[in-house]
């Protein structure tokens, strides 16, 4: 199945228990400086990977202050990730 590019408004593109690919989950979140976004996905382990930009991440008592270093597009350097257990 193809889902054409669209503004998903920070809501999951492939949500939990999707009828075709229930074993996966996918969201694209777009933020500007200072904005905060909370994510917790029941029944799914997740990994947060900035395509571009830099984040502070707080999970389970840990704080990580510079996740992501790419600017402009995904060709700009190596990715970073942060895992998160089911919500």
């Amino acid at each position: 199945m193809h889902i054409a590019p669209h503004d998903n408004q920070n809501r999951p593109i492939v949500d939990v228990d999707h009828p075709l690919v229930p074993l996966t989950y996918f969201n694209i979140v777009k933020l500007t400086k200072g904005q905060v976004f909370d994510t917790a996905v029941p029944g799914y382990e997740t990994c947060i990977v900035p395509a571009t930009g830099t984040l502070k991440i707080e999970v389970g008592g840990q704080t990580h202050n510079d996740l992501g270093q790419r600017r402009g597009d995904v060709w700009g350097g190596n990715p970073k990730g942060f895992t998160c257990p089911p919500g």
């Binding site: 193809h2 054409a4 590019p5 593109i13 939990v16 999707h18 075709l20 690919v21 074993l23 996966t24 989950y25 996918f26 969201n27 694209i28 979140v29 777009k30 933020l31 500007t32 400086k33 200072g34 904005q35 905060v36 909370d38 994510t39 917790a40 996905v41 029944g43 799914y44 382990e45 997740t46 990994c47 947060i48 990977v49 900035p50 395509a51 571009t52 930009g53 830099t54 984040l55 502070k56 991440i57 707080e58 999970v59 389970g60 990580h64 510079d66 996740l67 992501g68 597009d73 995904v74 060709w75 350097g77 190596n78 990715p79 970073k80 942060f82 895992t83 998160c84 257990p85 089911p86």
Partner: protein, 193 residues
């Protein structure tokens, strides 16, 4: 468990990748210098690619079912996901069931490509015209993709295993001889194990 992200840069676009899994493992960061890279294929065979594994095989004891990677074509134009393979049925040792989701980007970003989805060997399948930001859901079947000449292609790859994390792809019998003629395919397979 909840994760809170705060944007520190002027803007950020963030992928959140998930796999169905219940147990609570300790969260951890993957740094840029811990990324596992593999380059394979060739310009001659029009299959030259590289993969950056964010959550690859070295994390089997810290992650339940989720595999996350980024694929980049090397050079412009060309094919990926070839030799064609599938992973829609748990029938070890030949194959595992892993659902898969891709998100595509092109450089320059007005480029585009095609995603094939062939459910039955030797019968015509479907093809989708994919553009910058397209999401493709691979539930079943063989799934090579390609990009127009002059453009580089990227796709963010999420795999979720049904009964194990380690991926076993089944190569389509019709094209399986090319597993040996396209350079580095077996190295690529090993990095998803």
């Amino acid at each position: 468990m909840k994760a809170r992200m705060t944007c520190l840069s002027d803007q950020a676009e963030i992928f959140i990748a998930g796999a169905k899994y219940d147990a609570v493992l300790e969260p951890f960061a993957v740094r840029a210098d811990e990324i596992d890279r593999v380059q394979y294929g060739s310009d001659d065979t029009k299959t030259h690619r590289k993969i950056k594994h964010i959550l690859g095989t070295k994390y089997h004891d810290r992650v339940g079912r989720l595999l996350v990677s980024e694929l980049f074509t090397v050079g412009t134009g060309g094919w990926s996901g070839f030799p064609s393979h599938k992973h829609d049925t748990d029938r070890l040792p030949e194959e595992t069931r892993h659902d898969e989701t891709y998100n595509f980007r092109f450089k320059p970003n007005h480029g585009s490509g095609l995603q094939m989805l062939q459910r039955v060997d030797n019968q015509p399948g479907d093809a989708y015209h994919i553009m910058d930001g397209s999401t493709v859901l691979i539930d079943k079947g063989y799934h090579p993709c390609c990009v127009l000449p002059g453009y580089q292609m990227y796709y963010f790859t999420i795999l979720g295993g049904q009964s194990q994390r380690s991926l076993k792809q089944y190569f389509q019998p019709t094209h399986a001889d090319q597993v040996k003629t396209i350079p580095g395919i077996l190295d690529m397979v090993a990095k998803f194990k």
